[in-house]
Amino acid sequence: MDVFGSFALLLAFLCAAYAFVGGIFAIRTRHPLLVKSARQAGIATCGLIFLATGSLVYLFFSDSYWVSYVVAHSNRDLATFYKIAALWSGQEGSLLFWSFLLAVYVCSVLLVYRNKNGELMPYVGVVLAGVQIFFLTLNNFVASPFKVLATTGANGTLDIFTRADGNGLTPLLQYPEMVIHPPNLYSGYTGFTIPFAFALGALLARYPGEKWIHLTRKWTMIAWCFQTMGILLGAHWAYAVLGWGGYWGWDPVENASLLPWLTGTAFLHSVMMQEKRGMMKVWNVWLVFTTFMLCILGTLLTRSGVVSSVHAFAQSSIGNYFVGFLLLVFAVCFVAYLKNRDYLKSENQLDSMVSRESSFLFNNLILLVSCIAVLSGTLFPVFSEWFSGSRISVGAPFFNKVNIPIGLLLLFLTGVGPLLAWRKTSTDSLKRNFGWPLVVALLCGAVFFALGVREFFSLVCLILCVFVTSTISMEFFRGARVIRARSGASFLASAVDLTMRNTRRYGGYIVHMGMVLIFVGLAGAAFNRDVQKDMQPGSTLQIGGYKLLLQGFDSKVEKNYTSERMIVEVWRDNKPLMMLYPERRFFQTNEQSGTMVAIYSTLREDLYVVYAGQNPETQAPVVHAYLNPLVKWIWLGGLVVVLGTLVTLLPNRRAVLVLSGAPERAAQSASGQALAPSVALREGHD
């Protein structure tokens, strides 16, 4: 099967090369058969990558311990569930997985648009094939996952040998979320290739109008949604597994995933300017280019060892290839822009400083500043070493100080932007839209202050959260009230109807609401507390309103590891509340240990208990307990963001008949009259 996989990858490389070269000839000659053959080669490339990936998965499931990658990342006792995760646990496999996910996107795009957009698609196909060629080069010639274990025999021949068992999977990866977090994150990274291909293709083809934007909007939303889910799942994994009581440590790998998310978010907003007003064309094209390049840069950072990270499970000199590819992509984008920049001239101008357009500009500015601040902070240790010879670390305190004010500005714009009118917003409109939300937010702020929220940034964050919630609620309320008055439906049904009439707008509001929930959760971090204590059975630990009573220990032997559990009884208000079982696992195969944190999670706070090992001096077991307020809101916010994104992907109700006066209709209907109500035909608007 390893030979089959290698062969499939090699064929995939050749097919991608044909799709690229054939595509260029097809564009030049405009020969329909050549166009078709290039497209078919693109689809064949994807099919072959699927086969190669399937081969590697099969090798894991069949415990093929003559394949180097399988030996390094699996063992016989590894649960089936984690044998799938082993696919992306190392460098070679994760690069193949990258190719696989890219192939899923490419195949979908080539099939969906096979009979559409004939002028644009050959360009898109060439760009996609170019990206695939790069990854297939790595898969075939630099980091092949199908290398076998071999020794040189006495007569100089290579003898393949088989190991009895593998080294096993890194314990940190043996956690359910590691089965879903990387696929989500990778789907986000690879997904941004599609808008990149359309943007570059449209620029090269000088494709008229904003059609490429319409074509790619859904693909961008899908990629963005995956990226969001990937980031949040990664944060949850860090929270539940790493055992340091936090979910975001501004680690370079975390930062690398955030960078394209920031520019992707900026693009999703500024693209509306182009759709509605024909403005910011250059900006949008470069935002898409930058987002794609940041995806590649993220991989470079995590794979090359340029920056150290606890999350980087695979590092090598492969970074040079990524640097080369990054430079090539930049050069191609820059030349394409220079040659075709007149195609990107703005059609409209701006009427007022206080308008939706301005808010988008400031939204983009803040997202970009955040992106550049994170990027420069991540790379500063490298630059400081270059310039001064000594590496200066940039850790979480720096990123928090820099990004908290930026995040709050962004949160403010989240509330303000959507309620500003296009072109110009009058003073009356400002008062009408923001008067009440401002009053409610300030009143709530006074209540929060009275309740003891004195941390400045947390207080501001909570006030802004109330402000944004009020503005969004008012939008839903006003729209639903109109529908309710006309249709007589319930308020909830009217709100759903309103959302379905303009899924993009109201789905966007739901996404904003999800972000508000996330910010509420982040505001809680200022009030985190923790206590670390040596404990013996029978001893107690007090944290906040909770008392932890260590009842004892037990141990269990599982197939792949042995575990020692603490049995902790949690008391609150002098009443037993629940049992928690923080544990430490020892994986025999690779002789590594791992923690399993026990968390009692409520909307108010998380009680987070870690079995932190033995005190080296007293040998007493150590418990590290944290009380983290509002963390659950982050995960809930993530779910709302995903829900909102799904809503934005739904098609609008194309035409809605809004009939005035339900009772009148009933009367007319009963009297047999033809229905002649005042009918407002409202076109669904995307």
Binding site: P171, L242, G243, W244, G245, G246, G249, D251, P252, M272, K276, M279, V307, S308, S309, V310, Q349, L350, D351, M353, E357, S358, L361, F362, L365, I366, L368, V369, I372, S376, G377, F380, S384, S388, S390, R391, I392, S393, V394, G395, A396, P397, F398, K401, I406, A421, W422, R423, N502, R505, R584, Q592, S593, G594, T595, A612, G613, P616, H624, H685
Partner: protein
Amino acid sequence: MIKRRLAAFSLIVALIASSSALLSSSLQAQQQSDRVKQIGGKFMCMCSCNQVLTQCNHVGCTTSASMLKHLEEAVARGDSETDITSGFVQEFGTKVYAEPPKSGLSLVAWSLPSIYLVLGTLLVVFVIWRWRHAVPRAATVSGTSSRTPGISAQDLERARRRVTEETED
């Protein structure tokens, strides 16, 4: 009787003294622990995990334990934060800082985000200003043209559609 009262009084005094000594030592321990957390939050763990010293508890890390012990001893001795920091920098180099110091080359890291924000804001304001001032010029040109035709019904309808499209979302 007096002896008994004296004994009771001395017992009470001893109790108060011992409990206040206990309280003060516990307060001191708490203060020391808080100080360790506060100063430790400014250093990175040197095991390459890229975590702040007081937060690093990843499995198998021996570096953070020894660094924390070193810090606790320094705090217990009553060393100043500056002395502790310079001691750590001397031992581990500048990479021990959790955040760049606000001096020398590190000032660049601190000032860059503000510079981006200020420059970006100026740029956005300039772009908006330019876009705004382009409108009257266009209007003047079309308004002064003697050959400007009247607005046809088709043009009007197209303009209405465009206004709806541009202001709907």
